[in-house]
Symmetry: C2
Subunit: 272 residues, 2 copies
């Protein structure tokens, strides 16, 4: 009996899951250090992340230029087996990690902890989410974590939440083609109300561009805007965050609007 337990423990340590940690804020950001630390309790952690901030890159990949990777000293964070800073996007990092830099296939890819929320329509612009999406495309379970605060905040609590969610994913596995997008209110752990499974809120940016003129009299434009929640229904990611809950949204990377296929098949395309 005790032998069996010992054997199981040995098995478990030999089979320690490899966890890849990525982000879009850059490898030297506060959030990725917190996330790597939290993952080190669950497996062999490798950090492979962009050298520089890559916010709002969406699912960009680098196809016309080479990417570079340089070993990174992640010493301040205990329990990281290896780290590389990559010259590309978050999706590049995941591709390069899985196909080139890691010695074996990761069981889990986690991305974050992002500085600022990735809720509602912002999911589609998010480099943080795209790292997890790329992992899911490659058939690896993945989750993205974002702290709903731009200036500092409770990364310790967010890391605790990330560890809990990652532990669940490692234990149960995700259905193919899905990833989890987790947004965490900026609160101490004890102040979080719990975890809710949500859907993306319908929303848009009320955008404007500030037009300026450079010293050579040429115009340039800065994107600015105000975020608008258009959703009047229940169960959205924005609602959960507003109410102090961690929001967990399952996302898919098949973009086909399946429930509209039948209607479009009835359109007459051939004539005017």
């Amino acid at each position: 009996m005790s032998n069996a337990i010992e054997d199981r423990q040995n098995d478990r340590s030999e089979e320690q899951p490899l966890i890849l940690v990525c982000n879009d804020d850059g490898i030297d950001s506060e959030g990725i250090a917190a996330l790597a630390g939290a993952m080190s309790a669950l497996g062999e952690v490798h950090v492979i992340a962009p050298m520089d901030e890559q916010s709002a890159v969406g699912h960009a990949i680098t196809v016309r230029d080479p990417v570079r990777a340089r070993e990174w000293d992640f010493a301040e964070e205990a329990g990281v087996a290896g780290a590389y800073a990559v010259s590309g996007t978050p999706a590049d990092c995941v591709k390069l990690a899985v196909h080139q830099l890691l010695s074996r296939r990761p069981q889990l890819v986690v991305s974050g902890i992002n500085r600022g929320p990735n809720t509602a329509v912002n999911v589609i612009y998010s480099g943080t989410v795209s790292a997890a999406t790329e992992a899911s495309i490659l058939g690896v379970d993945a989750a993205a974590f974002s702290l709903c605060e731009w200036d500092g905040g409770h990364y310790d609590a967010a890391a605790e939440v990330a560890q809990r969610v990652a532990r669940r994913i490692l234990a149960k596995g995700l259905p193919p083609g899905l990833l989890l997008n987790v947004n965490i209110p900026n609160r101490a752990l004890g102040e979080l109300e719990g975890l809710l499974v949500t859907r993306q809120a319908r929303s848009r940016w009320e955008e404007s561009f500030a037009r300026r003129v450079d010293p050579f009299d040429r115009p340039y434009y800065w994107l600015a805007g105000e975020f608008i929640d258009l959703d009047e229904g229940d169960g959205t990611d924005l609602d959960a965050i507003d109410d102090g809950y961690v929001s967990i949204t399952p996302l898919q990377h098949d973009l086909t609007a399946h429930e509209h296929l039948a209607a479009f098949k009835e359109w007459t395309w051939e004539e005017d």
Copy 2:
């Protein structure tokens, strides 16, 4: 009676739809000239597109830098009311066009005609599709057009198809939150088998990186890969193209995996 017809015609010319043409191959590409020409039969055409090739940028937007727009001489193509080359991504072009450069709101945004297919998993990396996605987020009907050929090809036939699809969208309108992703086999118009409404095929890239070393002995990596169709079902975009049909896939930008929400709500998140 003849007066009524004349009035209607006047109304129609006053209400001529404004059509925005964008792409990701750059404003001086063959495909966008063909698309702009085809659209000029349907409305007042404005071309606002990236200065340089922006392939595989996904849904990147420029948030940390300003973007520039410079008036572009699109004279070789009849019927274009105005054109700008923009320093940003396809999504930037659409935002800047709608919020700043166009004098009124477009009724339709078309993107392309892309050099090479945007089918299956490639949809998520596509700058061409992202221009249409951004339009849909902004509440404007939109479609992306891609010619399934990398070197030259039947842009004239693809433009004819684009005109037909655009005419349909202008007549019927799209449901909110949807855009159309159109892929066109590289054939003369008479050789196309017809148009099919499809879903994205499940697929992935069998990727590898070519590792090289620069003159300073530092490694760099080129992404390379072979595309794999994993889908054994019917009705995919890849099937349609293989069979000589134009593929029309309705896409959504809400990424929530709605049909999995209930299952995830049964997960126990709070304890180990």
